[in-house]
Structure formats: C-alpha cells, structure tokens
C-alpha cells in the first residue's frame, strides 16, 4: 500500500477568473481509501472530476501510476466513478446498465456475462436484472451504480457523495457494502463526502478542504485529535469544538474575567510561537461539568440542555461566548450556575492570527 497511485502536483483549477482549486498537492497510495471532505463548494467534486478527466486541469500535473494524465481523455484513464445521482442509464435494464460499457469496449460476451453475474450477486441484486432503474428504491439504485463501476474492474474508484441521497438507516448499510467491496477488490478509492461520520469510518486518510485549499491530510484519528488549525478542529466532531480567545500572561491563560494556570507542558510550545494571543479549542466531550466550584474550574450559566439519548448536551454561557459540553448526566437546569474543568492535555491551542495549531502535548 505504499506505492503511489494518483498524484496531484500543484494542481489548480480556474473557472474563468475564479480559482476554485489552488495549488493542490495530494497523493493517493495504491489500494488506499482517501476521503475528500469539506463544506459545500470547497472544491471536492472539482478535484475528483479533474482526476476522472471530466474537467481539465488548469495548471499543475496530474499523475496516475507515474504517467502524466492531464491530456488523456476520460475514457482512456480506466477509472470508475460513482456519481451522487448514480447516473444510471434510465432506459436500460439493470443488466444492460452494467454490461453496456463493457460491451462497447469489446469485452467478449461470456466475460461480460460472467462479470455481470458476479457483481449482481456480490451486491445482492439478483432477481432485479430485468428491471429498470425507475423501478428500484434509492438504495438499490445506489448498489447498481456500484455494481456497474465494479464490473469495469478498474483499479481506481472515484465516488462523489454516493450515499448522500440515502436515508440514515440505508447509509449505514451502504457504507458496509462499500467496505466489503474494497476488501474484495482493493481498488484505490477517492471518496467525496461532506459527512464527517462517513469520512471517519471509511477513510484510511482524510483530505479536508476549504475554499479550494487543502487544510489537512491525515488519518481520521489525527484529523480528530491533532487538528492542524481552527477550521479543522471546528469542522470535525459534533457538537463542534468550542473556541475561545485567550491570552497568556506569565504562566496564566487569561479569559475575559477568568484566568487559569497554564499547564507546564504547554509552555515550551507557547514560547516557540512568539505571540501570546491564542485561540483555545476544547471539545465538548473533553469537558467535565459540575454543580460545585472546584479549584481551577471556570463557571458559566446553563442556557439550554439537549437530549442526545445516551448523553446530554449542555449549552451554557461562558463570559461573552456560548459553549457546549457533553455530559452523561441529565441533571441540568436552564439558568443554573455550573462549573467546568478540562484536561489541558486534550485541549488545542491555535495562534490567534494564523489560526494554526502551535502543537500538541498529550
């Protein structure tokens, strides 16, 4: 899995005068599942489509298996793609949908039949061969789209939000389907989503993008625990990471009215950073709430309590900002004064100006 399969070298994409992808460097290893994640409009689809050859590359190099592909037409790249709306041929039966591309590309008849049969059984589509896409449910259509791509037996598999049209229950099972396929064929997956749950559970690595720029490229664990900047910290995790402005004075973090002794382990990192103004990030699940004041605790007022089922979200006002903490107890009332602490090892510190992390201590 160490061989590079797809590589983008300083790739940019312009639409007219607007740059929607700038200077993207990305390499995907053979057999890897890479996730492109990011908010709507950040350029995920555009990146994927450049790899597929459906959009031209404005500048930079796109390499596949070591060959420059910028000018190779889509049809010659031997890439499979699953579209968000599945892009099934509505006028062909399921069988035909799968077989069509193969037949046109002169795969011989028995081979086509064999492959169709195989993917139909892998994806549990037996019995639906003669139906038309319109007669299938969303989940079935999605499976047909997968089947069609698999039958092509290409080593690169691009997926553009393939599950976003499914409802919550179906998404979970479709996710498992995808993993099963990958286990069987070990293609290189490049998978676009804006659902972080999907990204975390499916990806070997996640490329988090924003406004056409790569924010972070790392494993799900790192993305979650080692966010490179404020954006990453806020984007990943629900409820979102609390971000508060602090500044360091001596060995104390100062909030507006509160202050806190800075953990010793942070001091070298802080010193290395130069500036003393920071953005502090704390995940809701890393905070401990209490009704009793303890030394080193900060205090706020409960604004609202949200029921999540097994746990509870407590939204409270801390100084001028609103924070959220997750608690196992349901015993919080609106307006009540609460005290919270957090493990400084699990917190994040970002430089106020660059919004980049200054490092981690745990």
């Amino acid at each position: 899995m160490s061989e590079t399969c797809i590589q983008l070298k300083s790739v940019s994409k312009m639409y007219g005068n607007t740059k929607v992808i700038s200077d993207l460097n990305l390499s995907v290893k053979k057999g890897e599942r890479l996730i492109l994640l990011g908010p709507s409009g950040c350029g995920k689809s555009t990146t994927l489509r450049m790899i597929a050859g459906l959009e031209t590359v404005s500048s930079g190099d796109l390499m596949i298996d070591g060959h420059r592909m910028n000018d190779v037409p889509a049809g010659k790249r031997h890439i499979s793609m699953v579209f968000q709306d599945y892009a099934l041929y509505p006028h062909m039966t399921i069988e035909k949908n799968i077989a069509y591309g193969l037949m046109v590309n002169k795969v011989n008849k028995e081979e086509v039949a064999r492959r169709v049969d195989q993917v139909l059984s892998i994806l549990n589509l037996k019995g639906l061969e003669r139906r038309y896409p319109r007669d299938l449910s969303g989940g079935q259509r999605q499976r047909v789209a997968l089947a069609r791509s698999i039958a092509k037996q290409s080593t690169i598999f691009l997926l553009d939000e393939p599950l976003s049209n499914l409802d919550a229950q179906m998404r979970v099972s479709a996710r498992n389907e995808l993993l099963k396929i990958h286990e069987t064929y070990h293609q290189t997956f490049v998978y676009v989503t804006h659902d972080q749950m999907e990204a975390m559970t499916l990806g070997h690595r996640i490329a988090l993008m924003r406004d056409g720029q790569l924010q972070m490229l790392a494993t799900p664990y790192q993305i979650y625990h080692r966010p490179a900047n404020v954006f990453v910290a806020k984007f990943i995790g629900t409820p979102a990471t609390n971000i508060v402005h602090i500044h360091l004075d001596g060995d104390h973090f100062h909030f507006q009215n509160h202050s806190l002794t800075a953990g010793k382990e942070w001091l070298p990192l802080i010193a290395a950073n130069g500036s003393n103004e920071f953005l502090l990030g704390i995940r809701p699940e890393h905070m401990q709430l209490s009704k009793i004041n303890k030394p080193g605790a900060l205090s706020g007022t409960v604004k609202r309590v949200e029921e999540y089922g097994s746990r509870t979200g407590v939204i409270f006002n801390f100084e001028e900002s609103e924070m959220i903490a997750i608690s196992d107890s349901r015993n919080w009332r609106n307006g009540e004064r609460i005290y919270f602490t957090f493990n400084q090892k699990a917190m994040y510190l970002f430089d106020k100006d660059t919004e980049k992390t200054i490092g981690f201590v745990d």
Partner: protein, 295 residues
C-alpha cells in the same frame, strides 16, 4: 388538492375553448366527411349525393398515388432536415462544443418568426437555377445548377428546404432543451466508460430525450406538411405535373381552384384518417418505450 374550489368554475373556464373548437373544428370536420359523399361545386344550389363515388374516383386517379408518394417523401426529407439534423446539432452543441449555445439558439430561431410567404419568395430568387446568386457563384466555379423547380424529385427537396428554413430553428431549440435536460452525470459516466460519441448520441441521448424527440417528430410530420403548403403555392402550384403537390395542397387545389368540393373533402377525410393512424401508431408503439425524465 384542486385550486378551483367549485367544479362548475372549471367547466366555465373550458367553455369558450370548447365552443370555438366545436364550431370551427369539430363541426367542420364532420361536415367535410359529409361533403365527401356529395358532388358539388361550392356555389351551385344543388348538392348531389353520389355515395362513395368521390372516393372511387380518388382511388382511380393515378395522381393520388403520386401525391401520396410525394407526401411520404416530404415527410422523410422533413424528418431528416428538421428532426434528425437539429437533434444531432443539439447534441453536438450540448456535449461537444458546449460554448456559444445561446448565440446559436438566438440566430437559428430567427427565421421561424418570419412569414413563410416571404421566405418562399426570397428563396425562389436566391435559388433561381440560372440567374440567382447561388447559381452565379456556382457558375463561376463551373457548376450548372439543375432547374429544380421543374425537375420532379428535386423540387420536393428544395421546397422542403425552404420549409425547413422556417421550421428548423423551433425544432432546434426544443430539442436542445430536451437534450440539455439529460443529467450530465449520465453522459459523463458514458465518457468515463470510453463510449464513443456516436454511440452516446444514438444509444444514450436519443433514448433519454425521446419524449421531446417524439414531440418534435410528430410536429414535424403534422405541421411540416401544412407549412409546406405555402412554398408549393408560391413557387410551383403543385407542378410540374403534381411533382411537388402533397395531400394538403391537392385538397386545396381541388376545392378552391377546380371547385371539386367532393373530391377535396374525400381527400381531406383520407388525410385525417392517415394522421389519426399515425397518432395511434405513435401511442401504441412508441409512447410505451419513451423515457420520460423525472418518472
């Protein structure tokens, strides 16, 4: 849920159209069938009932077969120029050229707002095989244009071309809309599968926009045959020797040039019958296979 709360209001809204259709379309239709059993010259006070005589003489007249054939040839030519060509160009514009769609649309639609009488006359001059501008240009490179207006066969083609000049643009924008409605993903999927363009056109675009295609097909046949009336009347009056006449023009000629009302009515009835069969065939065999977007 109906927006119109009371049913009688719906009927009231439909009434004006219904009355006009009844008086000027349905009753005349029936009356034409009635006239086809009579011998009458439009003014004489006596109408003579002749039974099927009009139909018999219609079928005995070799001209009928010639005109049927012409009608068929017109349909074929019109389909090629006004249905297939715009289809192909719409496809090309949407998926190959991509740019300049708006401009082409604007210009190509332009002739469809111009009177066909004007168009016919213009083309008679432009295409004058001896002294028109085209002939002169061709002459310079040593080609003599055939005298199309007096050459059977060719005259059908040229009259169809003149009609197409007017009809093409409308069909083009309709088909372009139909083709643009195809989800781009499907075409991209095909491109990724290395499907050549001509296959994309015939095997994907054509079937997927067939609802629009059928509409244009039917309109081309039904409207086209009526549109072509004007160039026939302006340019050849059906000649030479009925080589450019069609069922519509011939019915007109019988009625208002030769005053053979019965013959004309019989021919019209026959035309109506043919159109009905066409419509029926469309519903029976094509409609079922048509793919409707969004269903």
């Amino acid at each position: 849920m109906s927006v119109i709360s009371k049913k009688w209001i719906s009927y009231l809204f439909i009434l004006p159209s219904l009355v006009i259709f009844a008086v000027f379309l349905i009753w005349p239709g029936i009356y034409t069938v009635y006239l086809s059993f009579l011998d009458w010259n439009l003014i004489s006070p006596t109408k003579r009932f002749v039974g099927l005589q009009n139909y018999l003489s219609l079928f005995q007249d070799p001209t009928l077969y010639k005109i049927l054939m012409n009608t068929f040839v017109y349909i074929v030519i019109l389909l090629v120029i006004n249905c297939f060509m715009p289809y192909l160009l719409a496809f090309v514009l949407e998926f190959v050229i991509v740019r300049g769609k708006k401009l082409y649309k604007k210009i190509l639609f332009l002739p469809s707002i111009i009177s066909l009488v004007v168009g016919s006359m213009l083309y008679v001059w432009i295409l004058n095989p001896v002294s028109g501008p085209i002939a002169i240009i061709f002459k310079k490179i040593g080609i003599d244009l055939p005298t199309w207006s007096s050459t059977s066969g060719l005259v059908l083609v040229v009259l169809s071309l003149i009609t197409s000049w007017k009809v093409f643009g409308y069909n083009f924008i309709v088909l372009l809309a139909g083709v643009s409605n195809i989800p781009s993903g499907v075409i991209e999927a095909a491109k990724l599968d290395n499907i050549p363009l001509h296959r994309i056109f015939f095997q994907i675009v054509l079937p997927m926009s067939s609802a629009t295609g059928i509409y244009v097909l039917i309109m081309t046949i039904v409207q086209g045959l009526q549109y072509i009336f004007t160039p026939i009347n302006v340019v050849t009056q059906g000649g030479p020797n009925y080589a450019s006449s069609n069922m519509i023009y011939h019915a007109y000629q019988q009625a208002f040039v030769l005053y053979k009302t019965g013959q004309s009515a019989a021919l019209s009835t026959l035309t109506l019958l043919l159109f009905t069969i066409l419509l029926f065939l469309e519903f029976r065999f094509v409609e079922r296979k048509v793919y409707y977007a969004g269903k």
